[in-house]
């Protein structure tokens, strides 16, 4: 192989190496709840009981699954079981606008590293800091408008409902 052939091969390999992750990530899409690793060591003033920790991790993962499906399919009815109050209202409004504009969002959720930072004294509210690893796409019909892999930080407020925890507020933030 000539020197120019080698350069061309190296360029091609480099390009393939850079493109490969996004192709691999497409196959990650799954209809199951994402993984949530919840650390409660920093939570206060109330200590988080083990059963509460498990319930919050389970319900927060279910909330993300529901949100991803709702934003992808433009179906606000998927939110009711996991969202309440402001979070429910804002997501519902966003989905209505998406549907009106013919847009939708596709989220490939690759997991959440979550710290509980506040657990109210009476045990009815918990605040989480979530570093979410996501592949995000904004689509106009089937046309991809924006696509990226990102670690996005979220602050979420959860409140205890009858037999589950529901997300009352969730905001992406530049930093914790």
């Amino acid at each position: 192989m000539t020197i120019f052939g080698r350069i061309a091969l190296a360029m091609a390999l480099a390009a393939l190496a850079l493109l490969a992750p996004s192709q691999k990530m497409d196959s990650v899409l799954a209809a199951t709840a994402p993984s949530v690793s919840l650390n409660v060591a920093q939570a206060g003033p109330r200590q988080v009981e083990e059963t509460t920790q498990q319930a919050v991790a389970r319900d927060y993962a279910a909330a993300w699954q529901a949100m991803a499906e709702a934003l992808d399919q433009n179906r606000a009815d998927l939110l009711a079981a996991n969202f309440i109050g402001t979070a429910d209202e804002k997501l519902t409004a966003g989905i209505a606008e998406q549907r009106k504009a013919g847009l939708h969002q596709h989220i490939v959720d690759k997991g959440h590293s979550v710290d509980a930072v506040f657990y109210s004294p009476e045990g009815s509210a918990m605040e989480l800091h979530d570093s979410a690893r996501l592949e995000l796409q904004v689509l106009d019909g089937t046309k991809v408008i924006h696509s990226e892999n990102a670690t996005v930080r979220y602050v979420a407020l959860l409140t205890a409902a009858e037999n589950s925890w529901k997300v009352r507020m969730i905001e992406a933030v530049p930093q914790f």
């Binding site: 000539t2 360029m11 209202e89 998406q98 504009a101 800091h129 933030v173």
Partner: protein
């Protein structure tokens, strides 16, 4: 290809050592990375990293003709035609919700964050609604701070908690962290309806906490014969701060004699409790409420 050219290439190939080859390959990779980097740079819109909720945003849009603007964020999805060659305006209404936004215009994309505006409202959890008077760290208040668009205000803010009952006020100021401030306060010496107020900036929320007498300080009873047996009655029952123990509190009277034990539960009514015990010639009568035990009477039917 001429023989000279072939010879030159063979000579070059023969002369190129492994180090040189590696340098050339690295240069190639660097070239690709740079090209992709330039491509990425070209695809970025000039937007600030953060915008305050409710504030508009002006995005320079170079080029000419018409293009489609996309904006996707929390509670927002916009698709509209805009004219290139000037600035594209996003209004405060477009950017009310705190969170991460993606903007796309004419094949260029960027992301930015909207952060909360100043505190406008407080969600205040005050617990419990009924507490015993004169008890330390028994009243808890948790304040979540929101702006006018229901975004959590994450910047630290001073939050003042005030608990006022019968003219006595306990005040404590805490600094919010991650949008939340909380406090624990003592209940006051005297019972009554306490006003529990949380305030930050111009926002203020009031809750009512009923402070009631705590456990009785002591119980004193008297006994007297009546046609149906022995009538026992307490003096007015108060806690150690002198507050009347609430009506409805259970007081237990017990009579023990040679026939066994009789127990009667009675509720405090208008500050006192009374009960009818069976007639007895020789009984020991005691009284208690919760963990507090009152006086004991040796009853002799003479």
């Amino acid at each position: 290809m001429t023989n000279d050219a072939i010879d030159f290439e063979q000579e070059l190939s023969a002369d190129v050592g492994p180090v040189t080859k590696a340098i050339v390959i690295c240069a190639g990779i660097l070239f690709v990375v740079c090209c992709l980097g330039l491509y990425g740079f070209a695809n970025e819109l000039n937007v600030p990293a953060t915008v305050t909720a409710g504030n508009g945003l002006s995005v320079p849009a170079s080029g000419s003709g018409e293009a489609t603007l996309y904006l996707a964020g929390p509670g927002t999805a916009i698709k509209r035609k805009v004219q290139l060659g000037g600035n594209v305006q996003l209004t405060g209404d477009d950017l009310q919700n705190a969170g991460r936004y993606v903007i796309a215009l004419d094949g260029n994309t960027a992301s930015f964050y909207v952060t909360a505006a100043p505190v406008h409202a407080i969600a205040f959890l005050a617990r419990p609604s009924r507490v015993p008077a004169d008890t330390p760290n028994v009243v808890t208040g948790t304040a979540f701070l929101f702006d006018r668009y229901q975004n959590l205000v994450l910047e630290p803010q001073p939050v003042k908690f005030e608990l006022e009952v019968n003219g006595q006020t306990v005040t404590r100021t805490e600094t919010s962290k991650d949008g939340v401030a909380y406090t624990k306060l003592d209940s006051s010496k005297k019972e009554g309806t306490a006003q529990f107020v949380a305030s930050s900036g111009s926002a203020s929320v009031r809750r009512v906490v009923q402070e009631v007498a705590s456990d009785p300080c002591n119980i004193r009873m008297t006994a007297q014969r009546d046609p149906r047996g022995i009538l026992v009655r307490t003096d007015p029952i108060r806690d150690c701060a002198g507050n009347p123990v609430p009506d409805g509190t259970i007081v237990t009277f017990t009579s023990t004699d040679s026939r066994g034990k009789n127990t009667v539960d009675a509720r405090i009514k208008r500050g006192i409790a009374q009960a009818q015990l069976p007639a007895s010639n020789d009984a020991t009568i005691s009284v208690a409420s919760g963990v507090v035990v009152g006086n004991e009477i040796k009853w002799r039917n003479e």
